[in-house]
Symmetry: C2
Subunit: 218 residues, 2 copies
DNA sequence: GCATGACGTGAATCAATGTTCACGAGGATA
DNA sequence: TATCCTCGTGAACATTGATTCACGTCATGC
């Protein structure tokens, strides 16, 4: 046996954890199964992490980092609201294709209750909440977006749909739900999804008699 | 002791189950705790239900009935799209206030994976999916709603926001998320929520140059 | 009032699973 | 090469929790 777990093995361990926690929830996940999936012993797992809870947190942290990376990429360069929206939609659709496990974990976590969940909501959503709200308010000030809306509330709607679309790409229930409404799987038709979602957003955010002239065509 | 559990006790048992399953997920819930919460013995619970799974299904069934009842009430009398939307928003906000446990259970269930979840998605969402899609298509045909959208896809967006708003009223994570975006709790400001959501929907669904004249003002 | 049966009770059982620890393999050092 | 030390291993342990069942209680029939 190797002296230490290789970086790759530790990687695999976290991935295995993400997948198991996502699949069975933080209560239902099985530590033995996680270790097995990662190809190491339970003992080793406990050498590196302080119990199930600690390990769960580590898995979560890993997912968060990935999410933040994607978000940073999207907001790197300035753009108008519509362009932002397009980028965000694309980035998140890709994210949910490439990191399905993270999204599933996120979904499971959001469904769990308690103090813990509340604290995490603050950490995870706080960033995007401020970001989206700011963009929308800026759009309003610049005359691109309608003024008769509450930026925070509309940002909430904006983000809610993005969440749902991501869940639809990764989580069994939400995927089936998407199929019922739209036919097919979201990950198989990102273009269609992007087009319709953007259309929906554009109208919702830009309606105002005075602004009709501004509106780009889809 | 009474000879048989009273109807009221059986009622309490289901309620206790809904609450526990909602709180800890179907894996994390504790049968002893459920029995205790309902004020009966575990033994009795097992006399009435066939194991944890069977009992879980019973709790789910109860929630579903309540949801269907609300939905039926909303769609009882014909109306235009906007009026429907308003009714649905109100009904679901009320539902999430009065039956928080059911919504929480639903949220937990949706996060769980597997065959089971898929089957349930079909049962639960199928009805509303067809309903919303039909209404939207009808609105398009009648000229009230924009024609450059896919009814199914927009119905999906429509329902997605309603789900999120309900979750925000019942589930810790989603509630906190709402607070971050909008400030305050959804259940404390149903009017504000209704107003903004309706505004959002109206623009999203009715934008089309030709239709501007049709649009009612909010 | 007594016998009988139906039914709830909750302690006991048994399986699942989080966690620990005595062990041994392999690498490092001299 | 001999010794030591680090670190992974997985069987053993302890706990938790689903499920069962021997028992007691209450209603019913006679």
């Amino acid at each position: 046996m190797l002296k230490k777990l290789s970086a790759e093995q530790l990687e695999r361990l976290l991935e295995a954890g993400v997948e198991e926690f996502a699949l069975h929830g933080s209560a239902g996940a099985n530590m033995r199964a996680i270790a097995e999936r990662a190809g190491i012993s339970v003992g080793a797992l406990y050498k590196y992490y302080d119990g199930k809870d600690g390990f769960f947190r580590a898995c979560l942290g890993r997912s968060l980092e990935a999410l933040e990376a994607v978000l940073a990429e999207v907001t790197a360069e300035e753009a108008g609201f519509k362009e932002y929206a397009r980028r965000i939609i694309r980035a998140l659709l890709r994210f949910s294709r490439e990191h399905a496990g993270y999204v599933r974990l996120y979904c499971t976590l959001a469904a769990s209750g308690g103090e813990e969940a509340v604290k995490l909501a603050g950490e995870i959503e706080g960033i995007t909440a401020r970001l989206y709200t700011r963009y929308i308010a800026a759009g309003q000030a610049g005359g691109d977006l309608r003024r008769d809306m509450e930026p925070g509330m509309f940002a909430f709607f904006f983000d809610s749909l993005l969440m749902m679309v991501q869940f639809a790409g990764c989580c069994d229930y939400y995927r089936e739900r998407f199929r019922l409404y739209c036919g097919g799987n979201p990950e198989d038709q990102p273009d269609r999804l992007e087009r319709e979602l953007l259309k929906f957003y554009e109208s919702a955010f830009t309606f105002e008699e005075a602004d009709v002239s501004h509106r780009e065509t889809v």
